[in-house]
């Protein structure tokens, strides 16, 4: 083995890497927030509605779940460019992840809604609550508990998937790593450091999620 490991440049650019990790988190969190909103809407449309809107929701969900995330990113990147719609790399990644998250979360939510017995709705209507109150006060809080664990997993996924940003020119953690690696040719060293950063991020997310769960779901 005649390869010499050079770790010095990696340490030197560690601050930059960590800063770009914030970008990774930012895009992952934003895509989760949007994904939850769209996912909720999609799942409700899929459960409640018929007609074109339902087909739209079903296509979205199934396309998101049955094609690679990278392909979805490319679509928002180069595909839509053909129609003269241009997004910055940040937006490409955000939209791609949101599209993907929404599809997966919609199915989680659907499972969540199905797990709430019909009688809960009846009970809350019979108390004189309107449908909106029933959903916001009774159904959704319970659904959130059912989907909390899958949602945490999806958040981890969003972080992992955001690494695809490096393939569409987004300088999040992976993109930044690639940029440095291409300047110093220390690919292995840089990506090893980045792997550790990802691992730590994921562990932190899981830890926080557990902490939050214990505060949120006392019942």
């Amino acid at each position: 083995m005649d390869y010499n490991f050079h770790w010095r440049p990696v340490f030197k650019s560690l601050p930059d890497l960590l800063e770009s990790a914030l970008l990774t988190l930012e895009v992952a969190i934003l895509s989760m927030i949007l994904g939850i909103l769209f996912g909720l809407a999609l799942s409700l449309i899929r459960i409640k509605m018929t007609g074109p809107l339902k087909w739209f929701a079903v296509s979205w969900i199934e396309l998101a779940r049955n094609t690679p995330a990278l392909l979805q990113l490319f679509f928002f990147g180069f595909g839509l460019g053909a129609f003269g719609i241009h997004f910055s790399p940040f937006l490409i990644v955000l939209l791609g992840l949101t599209f993907n998250n929404s599809g997966y979360l919609a199915e989680n939510f659907r499972g969540g809604f199905n797990s709430i017995p019909e009688t809960q709705i009846r009970a809350s209507l019979s108390l004189g609550m309107n449908s909106f109150q029933t959903y916001t006060r009774i159904i959704i809080p319970q659904v959130l508990r059912v989907v909390y664990h899958p949602m945490t997993n999806q958040m981890v996924w969003a972080v992992l998937m955001s690494s695809l940003g490096m393939l569409v020119g987004f300088r999040e953690l992976s993109g930044e790593t690639q940029f440095f690696a291409s300047k110093t040719y220390r690919i292995f060293e840089y990506f090893a450091a980045t792997a550790i950063i990802y691992y730590v991020i994921v562990k932190i997310i899981l830890g926080l999620s557990r902490l939050m769960a214990s505060r949120l779901f006392k019942y």
């Binding site: 809960q120 009846r122 009970a123 019979s126 108390l127 004189g128 609550m129 009774i138 019942y219």
Partner: protein, 241 residues
């Protein structure tokens, strides 16, 4: 108080209620019995406006429940309903369960809502469980919680749909006692039940449902003692009275 005339209800093709006429005066306790699928639950749902009807009229306290300009939510505030499954809201504490509707529906202040809730919980004997979550309660306690929750809206009448049938035998008693209490206090009630003993003891009248119709309705002694309808005779011979 509750006046039903010629009520017809279909689920798709299936006609479940085939012309019901029923008059429940204020303060009466009416028990509804009948075999499974005869439409007992459906009747309660229609009275509460939880299911649309096809024909007929349901007047509760001078309001036509199914008229298009009726505000269903305010109708429901006057009618408490308790279901077979304990429908306590699992994500709220016992106290919050009861206080929620007074707060967001009756628009009481938070403090008032909590007071009302506490009062009703004491009423049904759950005064020591206020901060627990429903998962920590027994089935019977959860069912009493559901009753307290309905009572907190200070309804003029109560609808019970087999409120005890999902309970273990040893827990049935405590819920029946609570209902009995309400009856004694003069609450107007319709109770779908399969506890014949309870029906006999508490009700002013008992209605026997058969295939979407009221086959026989009478004072309990008459109905259980000298059933006229042969379906009722058959039904009574199958259940232990």
């Amino acid at each position: 108080m509750i006046k039903i005339t010629n009520l017809h209800k279909q689920y798709g093709e299936l006609e479940v209620l085939k012309g019901i006429d029923l008059d429940v005066p204020k303060g009466e306790v009416l028990s509804v019995i009948g075999s499974s699928g005869s439409g007992k639950s459906t009747l309660l749902y229609c009275i509460n406006g939880l299911e649309p009807i096809q024909k007929g009229q349901i007047i509760v306290d001078d309001i036509d429940v199914h008229a298009s300009d009726t505000n269903l939510n305010s109708v429901r505030q006057n009618m408490g309903m308790v279901f077979q499954q304990w429908n306590s809201f699992p994500h709220l504490t016992v106290l919050e369960n009861v206080a929620l509707a007074p707060k967001i529906v009756s628009k009481l202040s938070k403090k008032e809502a909590l007071e009302v809730a506490e009062k009703q919980l004491l009423h049904v004997g759950l005064g020591d469980k206020l901060t627990q979550y429903p998962s920590a309660l027994s089935g019977g306690q959860q069912q009493r919680l559901a009753i307290a929750r309905a009572l907190a809206m200070e309804p003029k009448c109560m609808l019970f749909d087999e409120a005890t049938s999902a309970l273990d035998p040893e827990l049935v008693g405590e819920v029946l006692d609570t209902i009995r209490l309400l009856a004694d206090e003069g609450m107007t009630m319709i109770c779908v039940t399969h506890e014949m003993g309870f029906a006999r003891e508490v009700s002013d009248r008992v209605a026997f449902f058969h295939e979407g119709k009221i086959e026989e309705i009478n004072q309990p002694e008459e109905l259980f003692g000298s059933a006229k309808s042969k379906y009722l005779q058959k039904f009574l011979s199958k259940v232990k009275t």
